[in-house]
């Protein structure tokens, strides 16, 4: 029973979405299913918050490695929650200027807005900027000419890199118009539009088939491993 009901709900939800895709008159059903999921996810958010507190408080109490980070996490979590729920320093809305809590929690000048603008955004940007260094280190490792395939990869990457910079014009800019196809910027475009697109589409077709087969297995209850496997 513990698995039969989830399987039944999955099948109903899945088939409703399929029907809504083909029959315009039932499009609303799909929207309702999506709203139900949103409601469920919103409730689960409480579960997530509770779990976050439990895990980090336990870490602090056990003095596990990096427990100080858990302290920071809990402080940040509670501070943001208080700022958002309490609408701290949030100006009242223009419609009800006499009511202190009538403004949005994201109002410019509110504590939540301040945390978002001056703490969250810079931290996110910092994490994202690290990507540049990781790309360099991964490229260095991937482009080592160990065998024929790696040499091919290295050569292609080299052409693309040159073709996307001003260097392309210095290297092959002198070629006459009748040989324009060999100019690095044009070679780059050909590689991206023909070889890269062909490879990408082949992968995409495989993915689409995989998605269809997996969805069917889930809807028919053939694959139940995401529910913990075994028979219903």
């Amino acid at each position: 029973m513990k698995r039969t009901i989830p399987l039944f709900l999955t099948a109903i939800g899945g088939f409703v979405l399929i029907i809504a895709y083909y029959i315009p008159h039932t499009q609303g059903w799909g929207e309702v299913a999506a709203i139900w999921f949103d409601i469920l996810a919103a409730i689960a958010f409480l579960l997530g918050g509770g779990n976050l507190m439990k895990i980090h408080l336990k870490k602090i109490s056990d003095h596990k490695a990096g427990w100080a980070y858990s302290v920071i996490t809990i402080i940040a979590f509670l501070a943001t929650l208080t700022a958002g729920l309490g609408k701290v320093f949030s100006p009242p809305s223009m419609q009800y200027p006499d009511m202190a809590w009538s403004g949005s929690y994201r109002e410019i000048g509110s504590a939540f807005w301040w945390l978002f603008e001056y703490a969250f955004k810079p931290l996110t940007a910092t994490m994202f900027s690290m990507l540049a260094f990781y790309v360099a280190s991964a490229a260095f490792r991937a482009f080592r000419a160990k065998n024929f395939e790696a040499i091919l990869l290295l050569g292609t990457a080299f052409i693309i890199l040159l073709g996307r910079t001003a260097a392309a014009n210095w290297v092959t800019g002198w070629l006459p118009e009748s040989w324009a196809g060999l100019k690095l910027e044009n070679v780059t475009v050909t590689i991206m539009q023909v070889f890269n697109t062909a490879g990408n589409r082949a992968i995409m077709i495989g993915i689409a088939l995989g998605v269809a087969a997996t969805s069917l297995k889930v809807l028919l209850g053939v694959d139940r491993s995401y529910l913990g496997g075994g028979k219903g």
Partner: protein, 596 residues
């Protein structure tokens, strides 16, 4: 005497002036050469078998195309069906909600909002005065909003900003619609009705008196024959005149209607051969009527205008649709019929092969190195006494990749339970955490080690992408897991995670269906499940016959795709080489219907 002399001189000079004038006239650009003829026979009809959002336009090419036409410009009416007063009122309420959500500086829009709110109290729009008030205030709101948008760029209010622009557009369009429709209703008179009123009615009134409407049809014989003939003749004549007048009225109304340009379309080579082209207008609202017009446009060539100059456009008179067309919603979306057929073939094949596999037939599947490495990775972690880290991507349970990731987790957790290795599953969504706990618990139970299951090792971190990555990076650097699995949907964080794992020397297996992230995983991980391999993982790892059958079913799908690709390429190549109208139509059908 003097005047006579001057006149004689002028007469002598006349031929010279005429020749010079002709020369000047030749040197001037001939405007008539640039006159662009309009397209003809424009028709609009609702696209059959669709979801009620498309209308197909067809027209015959303009005279002089292609030499004198660069492209056709398609316009659609903004003034569509009348917007009900209640809808207008609702739209203002939406606008009010938008204002509420948006972080608008109070000093700039306070007055405007107050005015709009005041207008919301109006219980209906029955006359032009109310409508005018709405128009004025909303336009004022729009101007203020545009100024505000230009001055600031609030990322946290992006959604609300888009919403408010959309609502303002809707209102801006709705008001003239209402006005135009009123005019439309007033001029809605047929030629027959006009003729009847102009000619027949006065005569009938004269003959039968004021109560002529009562029984004139029965008493028609009382009218003298010559009068009757004269009456019919006059009425036919009046009808002709009225028809012309109605046509003029409709055209005038069409000119009053507001249009917006939606697309510049250039006829293909084969359409030039056919002398006719069509265009599908999309994203229409099925509750409204639309009018269209198409013009032929000629744009000057760059070499004609000289460097730095802007080429001039010459636009023809428009071809217009007289009657409004309303898109209708059908019971079955026929545009998706080819897709439904393909889905049936693939799903049918999967189900047939599942049955074949259940009947005991052994199905062979090629070795997938990434999945063979699962045991190796778990064994390594056990030997080293370090944990295994499993990440199911950063999307929620409504993503099929997350589900595929959980199926792999089931197998990894079972192996970990058998080897007595510690498996840690941080998640970025609460629902995924709950599902992962169920999965791992069941896997431990299946492995006969329910006591070893620790639910605290499957926990929620944060929904925020880079917050999640920061946590994982820190954990990986501190705990140094021996094996890392990345199975699910990943975006920019893929390389950050994989490179961190690489730097701590963990054995890494990744699987995703995000083509843009695959190169990063391939570069930084030991094994990568590419696209369909990832979805095949569940079947491969379980080895269950019904699951293996689904993999074979997918192969049938691949064969169908292969055949379709070959047919499509052959038809497109032949169409391009021969320029055949039929083949080009077939290519268009493949592109517009089958590939949509």
């Amino acid at each position: 005497m003097m005047q006579e002399h001057t006149l004689r001189k002028l007469r002598l000079l006349a031929p010279v002036i005429m020749i010079a004038g002709a020369g000047i006239a030749q040197a001037q650009p001939d405007e008539s050469e640039r006159m662009v003829h309009p397209p003809v026979d424009l028709t609009a009809r609702d696209k059959s078998w669709d979801g009620g959002e498309k209308i197909t336009l067809t027209w015959k090419l303009a005279e002089g195309d292609p030499d004198n036409v660069s492209f056709y410009r398609v316009y659609r009416s903004l003034t569509v069906a009348p917007l009900h007063v209640r809808e207008l009122h609702d739209a203002v309420s939406d606008l009010h909600d938008d204002f509420e959500e948006l972080d608008i500086p109070r000093d700039q829009l306070q007055q405007c909002i107050e005015n709009v709110l005041q207008l919301m109290d109006v219980q209906g729009i029955d006359d032009h005065a109310d409508l005018y008030e709405y128009t004025r205030e909303l336009r004022h709101a729009r101007l203020s909003m545009e100024r505000w948008i230009q001055a600031t760029s609030p990322t946290n209010a992006e959604t609300a900003r888009i919403q408010i622009i959309r609502d303002l557009d809707k209102l801006d369009d709705a008001i003239p619609t209402y006005e135009a429709q009123r005019e439309d209703d007033d001029s809605e008179t047929s030629a027959e009705k006009i003729a009847m009123m102009a000619v027949t009615e006065p005569v009938l009134q004269e003959i039968f008196g004021d109560d002529w409407k009562e029984d004139w049809e029965e008493r028609i014989e009382e009218i003298p024959q010559d009068v009757r003939f004269q009456l019919l003749e006059d009425r036919d004549q009046a009808e002709e005149q009225a028809e012309a007048q109605v046509a003029r009225d409709v055209a005038a109304l069409g000119n009053q209607r507001r249009y917006k340009s939606i697309e510049d379309v250039k006829p293909e080579e084969w359409e030039l051969h056919r002398g006719k082209m069509s265009y599908e207008v999309e994203k229409l609202d099925r509750r409204e009527k639309y009018w269209f017009k198409v013009t032929a446009v000629y744009v000057e060539e760059m070499q004609d205008v000289g460097e730095g100059a802007i080429p001039r456009e010459y636009e023809s008179e428009p071809a217009m649709t007289v009657a409004g067309v309303q898109p209708a919603r059908q019971w079955f979306d026929g545009v998706r019929f080819p897709l439904s057929l393909y889905v049936l073939i693939v799903c049918g094949a999967v189900m047939i092969y599942i049955q074949i596999a259940r009947s005991g037939k052994i199905l062979k599947v090629r070795t997938i190195a990434g999945l063979e490495a699962v045991d190796e990775a778990v064994g390594r972690a056990t030997e080293m006494g370090r944990p295994i880290m499993f990440i199911c991507g950063i999307q929620d349970m409504n993503d099929i990749q997350t589900i595929a990731g959980l199926t792999v987790l089931s197998r990894v957790a079972k192996t970990a339970a058998e080897y007595d290795a510690k498996i840690e599953v941080p998640t970025s969504r609460s629902l995924v955490m709950t599902a992962a706990r169920e999965t791992v618990q069941a896997a431990y139970l299946e492995a006969g080690r329910p006591d070893a299951y620790n639910e605290d090792l499957i926990y929620y971190v944060t929904d925020e992408q880079f917050g999640f990555v920061a946590y994982l990076q820190g954990t990986m650097a501190r705990e140094k897991p021996a094996a890392c699995f990345y199975m699910g949907t990943f975006f920019a964080e893929s390389l950050i995670l994989a490179e961190t794992g690489n730097s701590i020397g963990a054995i890494q297996v990744a699987g995703t269906a995000m083509p843009a992230q695959l190169p990063f995983f391939v570069a930084a991980c030991d094994y990568t499940l590419i696209g369909e391999e990832f979805f095949a993982a569940s079947a491969y790892l379980s080895g269950a016959p019904e699951q293996m059958g689904s993999l074979k079913g997918q192969d049938i799908g691949k064969m169908v795709v292969g055949i379709m690709v070959i047919i499509g390429v052959a038809v497109a190549t032949l169409a391009s080489v021969t320029g055949s109208v039929h083949l080009n139509e077939a290519v268009e059908f493949i592109r517009e219907t089958m590939l949509r």
